[in-house]
Subunit: 210 residues, 2 copies
């Protein structure tokens, strides 16, 4: 079997069997939820040898799901930090476009790994909810910070960030139902209307449509 | 065992073991998703006898999940139709308050049955996605119809309805992560800002906060 010393949980420095398993888990969880994702499927999808499971994930599926969340979150945060959004609309669009790609590349069948764990997690029974919460907060925190940096008043930045994350998470569910990205595009347009009128895409009480 | 002749699938006319099982399934699915909800748990929660499963749900868990969606959807539509919302804000608030109660009564652990099925359903493998789609469409259709009746311009009503459903579905996920209704309240306030300024709660480019 592939022998890799993993020095730090949650850090992925090479394309070893561990990382391939985490990528596969993320892909499967966002398509079918965490409960319906089995280790066998992760092994089949990643091509990792069976022995990898207990070598890399001695704590079982819960550990694999947590690593899938961390891996996804690192990618989300890196995507948001890439480039320098100049306007509030750019900030939202960068976040929205990322989810739009998830919908388009999966033809509407994939959602968000973190939501997949959140919905399948009984809050009373699992510590996963702490990781889900801190992950969502890191995303809305960065979005709000970038909105403020782009000129959105401080008291508006945080609620717009929360509404944007909620709107995208909900849109992903509607896109699964519709099998296309149309609900996401509709929600995106509405979210952009929340930006102060100084933003480059002002909207005046519903008169404007693209 | 309770002997009941069920004349029509999806119709619930008495508090028999079938209805109790559907109620229990809805409650369990919205807390932990459809895959983690077993027939045994539904039986334990509903107090229905084991023989009820094949008597009432010969097609198995898929049929039970579908009936849980139908049962929920009937309640959602009836809730929206109850009373006569006078303003666009009333329309949104009636829908929002319904989800707020779900969060509050479950102390943040319950979400939406339909989303629970949508996220756990592999679109390529199941016909459940058709029911999920038609259910979501019936909700946004009624919301849009009520918004129009309350004076929202026709071209704005449908996108606001879709954004409201997406916002609520996403907010339910964030509420599970936070264990409280705060994300839902934040999203609700933002959704109300989308209403045309003729609505009773106008918002002028972020200057107003409650």
């Amino acid at each position: 079997m592939t022998s890799v010393i993993v020095k730090s949980r949650g850090k992925f420095v090479s394309t070893d069997s561990r990382e391939r398993m985490v990528r596969s888990a993320a892909s499967l969880i966002r398509t079918r939820g965490v409960n319906a994702t089995s280790f066998s499927e992760v092994l089949a999808d990643s091509g990792a040898p069976r022995g990898s499971i207990y070598h890399h994930f001695p704590e079982g599926k819960k550990q694999l799901a947590e690593d899938a969340i961390r891996w996804t979150s690192e990618r989300v945060l890196a995507h948001l930090r890439a480039g320098a959004p100049a306007t509030p609309a750019d900030v939202l669009k960068r976040f929205i476009d990322m989810w739009r790609k998830v919908v388009l590349t999966s033809r509407g069948t994939a959602g968000c790994v973190v939501a997949g764990v959140a919905i399948d997690t009984d809050a009373g029974e699992s510590g996963d909810v702490d990781l889900v919460r801190s992950t969502f907060r890191s995303w809305t925190g960065l979005l709000a910070e970038q909105l403020r940096a782009a000129g959105v008043p401080s008291e508006r930045a945080a609620p717009i960030a929360v509404a944007t994350l909620a709107g995208m998470e909900g849109a992903l569910i509607l896109c699964r139902a519709e099998g296309n990205a149309k609900p996401l595009d509709t929600v995106a347009e509405e979210l952009l209307r929340l930006l102060p009128s100084a933003a480059p895409r002002p909207v005046s009480s519903g008169a404007r449509r693209r």
